[in-house]
């Protein structure tokens, strides 16, 4: 899957949890979930669960540890999809 396709899917996933519309509109690879989108940390768990469901992958806690930005999530999704 291309990076742009992944960003589109990710944008749909995070939409219910964001608290900063402006940052959401401008969502890019460099967007930080907590600092930019103001997603609360409990909802970050929701993002992880929704990503697992959407891509049919399993995210271990060691991967989750890095999942603070769009870029990091894209990297993890690609890694998991590659070994599927």
């Amino acid at each position: 899957m291309s990076k742009d396709e992944l960003i589109v899917k990710l944008k749909q996933i995070v939409a219910p949890y964001i608290q900063d519309e402006e940052a959401f509109k401008n969502l890019s690879e460099d967007t930080d979930f907590i600092n930019d989108l103001k997603i609360n940390s409990a909802n970050l768990v929701d993002v992880v669960l929704d990503v697992e469901d959407e891509f049919d992958i399993r995210i271990e806690n060691d991967d989750m540890e890095k999942m603070l930005s769009v870029k990091a999530v894209i990297e993890i999704i690609n890694e998991k999809l590659a070994v599927k």
């Binding site: 907590i34 940390s41 409990a42 669960l49 890095k66």
Partner: protein, 196 residues
């Protein structure tokens, strides 16, 4: 060093509506809590409140840890909670220990954490009246400034709060950074702060 965290219980159920039943609830708990913590949750009288009590302990302790090491991560399972009695507990991250004290009410759970057992932070948890998300931090910050101005015997106008790149707030008096450690939290209709 200190940290604090508030969970508005009503808001928590609105925030993650999918989570509170069936398989999703189990998966949610597995991502956040260790085996021992999950047992503690399942054996408690009110699973929902116990989840948020442990969560607020982890968050409050994490705020100290990130301040110490200036590195953000997201791995709630690595923060292991232990409850001593009612509202006192300890959170262990690798070889580090943080001590917690919680207030539990019908509407919210509020936890302060300290890096040493004997630290007694000044802390407050208050209800925000009709504040939209954008202004919650502002309200909390103003409460801190009021309290700090008394403590330092200085006018509010001489005080400032600035956040660094990891999001940690610091206090400034006449433009000079102070050593006091500050933690601010807000969620739903509640905000809180701890000062030391």
């Amino acid at each position: 060093m200190i940290g604090n965290d508030v969970v508005d219980l009503k808001q928590a159920s609105i925030d993650s509506p999918k989570n509170f039943k069936g398989i999703r609830w189990k998966r949610f708990l597995h991502k956040i809590f260790t085996e021992a913590e999950r047992q503690f949750i399942y054996n408690s009288k009110n699973e929902f409140n116990t989840v948020w009590l442990l969560w607020s302990m982890k968050e409050a302790a994490y705020k100290i840890h990130v301040r110490r090491y200036e590195k953000r991560t997201f791995n709630p399972k690595k923060l292991k909670c232990q409850i001593y009695y009612k509202k006192r507990g300890k959170v262990t991250i690798d070889e580090h220990q943080y001590y917690t004290a919680s207030q539990i009410s019908e509407d919210y759970i509020y936890t302060t954490a300290t890096s040493e057992k004997n630290i007694k932070p000044i802390s407050r948890c208050l209800r925000l009246e009709n504040s939209p998300f954008e202004s919650q931090y502002k309200v909390a910050r103003n409460e801190v400034l009021k309290r700090y101005s008394e403590l330092k015997d200085a006018p509010i106008t001489a005080l400032e709060i600035k956040k660094d790149k990891t999001g940690i707030p610091s206090l400034f008096l006449n433009g000079e950074k102070q050593d006091d450690s500050l933690s601010i939290t807000h969620h739903g209709a509640y905000c809180g702060f701890a000062l030391n």
